[in-house]
Subunit: 262 residues, 2 copies
DNA sequence: CGTTCTATTGAGGGAAGTCAACAGTGGTGG
DNA sequence: CCACCACTGTTGACTTCCCTCAATAGAACG
């Protein structure tokens, strides 16, 4: 019985952790008062486990909840006619992966678990509760949707106008900074337990070419991936070959409030 | 003096038209009452002309206004280290091209005039005025930002996982539907006065390959472009080779309100 | 009329895809 | 405990789609 007890304790801890992470990220882009942060932390949801490689939100589905990622890695994807997938964003712990569904419940994309994943399913009803009571929270949600959009937009540039080695380097730079800021490691070393096929789907390449490109990055002592951990040996070089400018990540601190003044 | 009089009349007509188009599109995704629509129509701004090929919002700039496109075509772009551009979205008359700047005033992208363009510069102050007074309008703004994000996301798929002919066909399908809905033509025939180099920037190709691909589409009697007008000879074929599913465009009619109930 | 931008076409090269084989790893069940 | 299987990673050989370079024609514009 002890293991299962430990399990449930882990879960409730995780739920709080995830909400903390989520509130922290909202606060990094939008000024939130203590009361507003508490409101975010008060969100109620249901913990769900999703095994790796399972889609848990499907293209064209109508959803009534959003998924806060507690642990693991999730990809937002579309696919072409032959079923080839393309990821348009990666999500890490603390991300509300489909917050956009709050204003647009019919999804035009899917979410897939890239690793074993723990999510907190937060009903739209809950999100509306805090958004209506606290306009600044609604504004923070809005701003987070825009930040996601900014990442999609940069990925278009990445996939459209950079060669393989730059593309992969750019992706690793982005994930390094995001993981670092979420407290999931440092930019020099962080977990990214995706298969090479997943990286291919994220960069619009084939798995085989990802393999060769990773080898090139390893050979040049820039970055290496081993058993799901990224080790950056030369951050400046990675930024250079990845042609990486983090401006699109909207990390410049809280933007001024628009819906009211503090 | 008569010509210049006609000119100024044109301008004021255009301003009203653009706000009408904008209000109509907001209303197509979000339920707005008559009063709320009037509030949108009451937005004050300043008309500006921008010549073709001029950037009018720059990467990393901090802006205090948003640009409502009255006439012409605008591209949102990023660029790689060598200055190669990649468009991540096209905007047409009635689009508030950088509405996202309202919540994130520091841009991580640029806007460029693909044709001679007329814009209405709407100060953030004005947008805040109606957003604060009418939460449903704020919600409609939010939803429109999400719709833009959905387009970026689909473009990642387009550029990452489709070959040249599908990529171009997909773009033409999207623009056909958007122009049709904005009353700028029909899906069988609409204006798209972009150069082949612009189409290349939108699809992550080179201008030369765009030329060859257009020739292929013309030869197969699917679609042809001549002096800035697209003529679709076989819509179904275009949708098929473009692997086009309009779900991502969020055209399914107004979504339910979340910030309050009507 | 030149000048400049845009479109068109050919020839050749290169980055990335495809096909195929094999090694390492972990999980499962006999 | 080991055999088996599925998945992932690695590498080689070949192909192909698209890019690059180059030349020319047409269109727009002062």
């Amino acid at each position: 019985v002890l293991p299962s007890l430990g399990w449930s304790i882990d879960l409730s801890l995780s739920q709080g952790d995830a909400l903390q992470l989520f509130a922290k990220r909202l606060g990094s882009r939008s000024l939130l008062s203590g009361e507003e942060q508490s409101a975010v932390l008060s969100l109620q949801g249901q913990i769900k486990q999703v095994p790796a490689h399972k889609d848990f939100v499907h293209l064209g589905e109508v959803v009534d909840h959003a998924c806060l990622l507690v642990e693991g890695f999730v990809g937002r994807f579309g696919q072409n006619g032959e079923g080839l997938r393309q990821l348009s964003c990666l999500h890490i712990a603390g991300d509300m992966a489909d917050l956009v569904s709050l204003v647009s419940p019919k999804t035009g994309w899917g979410l897939t678990a890239l690793t074993d994943v723990t999510i907190l399913r937060v009903p739209h009803r809950e999100l509306r509760r805090v958004a209506v009571a606290y306009p600044a929270v609604a504004e923070a949600f809005w701003r987070d949707c825009v930040a996601d959009g900014s990442i999609f937009s940069e990925w278009v540039v990445n996939v459209g106008r950079r060669d393989a080695i730059a593309r992969l380097s750019h992706l690793l730079c982005e994930m390094a900074l995001r993981c670092e800021r979420a407290g999931l490691g440092s930019r020099q070393s962080f977990r990214l337990p995706l298969t090479q096929a997943d990286l291919a789907d994220a960069t619009g390449m084939t798995g085989i070419h990802v393999n060769r490109t990773l080898k090139a990055l390893r050979t040049q002592s820039i970055v290496s991936m081993y058993s799901g951990t990224v080790t950056v040996h030369d951050w400046d070089a990675l930024v250079r070959v990845g042609d990486f400018d983090p401006a699109y990540m909207l990390l410049d601190g809280p933007a001024p409030r628009i819906l009211e003044t503090i």
